[in-house]
Symmetry: C2
Subunit: 389 residues, 2 copies
């Protein structure tokens, strides 16, 4: 099922490596997309056999800068706590790869890139892409990198959806899979939250029906509102309460106005208005749509376990107790489906009050759980053991 592709040599750029795949990628919708550029980063070295690759899949607003310093924000990569020498995804042992998803806005082909047929940004002429399409593009990248079977595919949130799709679509190319804080399909409530975000972007007149790059405008206000709404869903009520409660922002009393009296308001506004500097509004539409469309059960006759009959993949499912965006019940459903086909699966719910965002934070129990799974799978795969500190 991998895309046959002619590839050009990757070039090192400010935004990491780029690979351009000239052969058309046939999308789930039936549309063909060419060329496809994948922006990606690698950490550590591939072994001679090409068996030590860890493919990291990023979430909705993530990117391929997993570790080290992000070249645009100047802050640590989103999983810097987990990826590096001696860390859980140990770059002394593993060849860690992460690509900006298809439809993204950090260098991979997406709606803000130039449509070669018109010479103008794609905008809404960009085809709707799916989680499957993202994974197909990643597979083409791994072909180019000489990775046959991935040692472990791992990711949280939308990253977990990609992990599930990888295990379903390419079972022989995945030795181990760790979908974290994820699901096999997007729930009605999650679709609803995404729809609010999309409506907020589209409601901004500066969106210009998707042609803002051509028109020289930018729907920053709409995108900021979308981000604010989404951000609430990433946290738990408990975390919000502990972090902010009803504490006032730089004032000792209510001002009886519409400024950000409460710290939680100030925080949300900050989240919204910093986001617009690093994210493309149309990408937000496309990627949320890809998540909404994801439903591995529906694609397999309504029975999730059908997607994994006879799977050789070793699974480790991780959820967080206070995550209400991708609650534990979703991971439990996956665990049941995998058990129903006698798959090799472990499932751990991490006690945390930090909500969905916990997968991005340095939660010790999460880290040790993933560490245990990775080390155990590495032993079975015959990869080097972790150096004892």
């Amino acid at each position: 099922m991998t895309t046959e592709s002619q590839v050009t040599a990757p070039t090192q750029a400010v935004a990491g490596f780029r690979l351009t795949i000239k052969a058309p990628l046939v999308l789930q919708s039936g549309a063909k997309l060419a060329p496809v550029t994948m922006a990606y980063q690698t950490y550590g070295q591939s072994n001679a056999e090409g068996t030590n690759c860890v493919l990291v899949c990023h979430a909705l607003t993530g990117d391929h800068f997993v570790a080290g310093t992000h070249p645009i924000t100047g802050r640590p990569g989103w999983w810097d706590a987990l990826v590096g020498p001696g860390r859980v995804l140990d770059t002394n042992r593993f060849f860690v790869v992460c690509a900006n998803v298809l439809g993204g806005c950090m260098g991979s082909t997406g709606p803000k890139e130039i449509n070669p047929e018109t010479g103008h940004p794609w905008g809404l002429k960009f085809p709707v892409i799916t989680i499957r399409d993202m994974v197909q593009a990643q597979a083409a990248l791994l072909d180019h990198l000489g990775v046959g079977q991935v040692f472990c595919v791992v990711g949280g949130s939308m990253g977990a959806m990609q992990v599930m799709e990888w295990a379903h679509r390419f079972p022989e190319r995945v030795f181990a899979a760790a979908p974290i804080a994820g699901s096999y399909r997007h729930s009605a409530q999650n679709i609803a939250f995404h729809e609010v975000g999309r409506q907020a972007i589209m409601a901004d007149l500066d969106w210009q029906h998707g042609d803002y790059l051509e028109k020289g405008t930018m729907p920053k206000r709409g995108l900021a509102v979308a981000r604010m709404a989404a951000h609430i869903t990433y946290l738990s009520e408990t975390a919000l309460h502990r972090k902010f409660g009803r504490k006032l922002q730089d004032r000792s009393a209510l001002t009886y106005g519409f400024d950000a009296d409460f710290q939680v308001e100030s925080y949300l506004r900050h989240q919204g208005y910093t986001f617009v500097d690093r994210f493309d509004p149309n990408s937000y539409l496309y990627i949320t749509r890809a998540m909404d469309y994801f439903d591995l059960a529906e694609e397999n006759g309504g029975v999730l376990s059908n997607a994994f009959v006879g799977t050789p993949v070793r699974f480790c499912l991780i959820s967080f107790s206070s995550d209400w965006l991708f609650p534990t019940s979703e991971s439990r459903t996956i665990a049941h489906a995998l058990n129903a086909v006698a798959a090799n699966v472990s499932f751990v719910e991490i006690e945390s009050d930090k909500g969905h965002d916990a997968f991005l934070l340095d939660e010790p129990e999460f880290r040790s759980t993933l560490q245990g799974f990775i080390d155990g799978a590495a032993n079975i795969r015959g990869l080097p053991r972790r150096a004892t500190p």
Copy 2:
């Protein structure tokens, strides 16, 4: 503490009764507001002693058309199932009163009404009002109606906040109080959701810094987005899943576009875009702000029970098990605080998977619980018993 007021005779209009209070209302902020018009409805008749009044307090987007046919939407009033002859709030026995809240947009003084000092709509020059201010205005209305002690103050959501404020501020004027699906203070998460709604409205260029009525524009897109975000919080994940799941809207397959493929998207858009025909965007800002500011504990030295020391009021607290906007834990905190001052309180959590909106629906257990409380309190108060059917 009641406002001394000169009143003009109420006039019957399309939008029910109106009372204009000429004496200034001193707001919690210290600002003075005059005149104050209260739009209200009454159902049933006051008894000779004026002891059979049930004051119904409405929620954020509710109004005073509790029962019968709403004159604008043509649909039943929001608590028509509970208010009427022989119903829980039996208009054969009780004199039911409901007023549009101060700051509202259905006839009571609010930001869309004319500022008498300028001859133009108030807009953002309208003073920020609080739940206490809403209650003070209601008290002035009851003064006018000849109601000394209210038999029962009842309401859900923001209505419950008013009930709590009534019991705190005017304990001698409240015989019984039924705060439903409410709280004694707005949580950080709820403030956050409100802030998203306000930001959505303010992000709409047609909002015109609040002067849209003057400028002849209307921030419908922003208000619709605010409503959509809020609407998700009114339902439970279970209810959304049962009602919509991932069902498609008038189509048999995904369209790979941004139309409303899913029923839940179509539903949300409908909720958003019908709301703008009946609600004023600035009112939405002011009323959400009033809810955010509400904190009966903070106002009483950080100890909620201080607000109810020696209270003679009989309380019935009702919550719904799947309500995540005003979860049961909030009502439980109130129950504990009332117990701590040996108040007369009963507390019932209704099993329902319908979320916060359950208080607006005809949930049999909810209805019978409220019925039991009302009937018991009426007996103690010496009001007529319910006619046996």
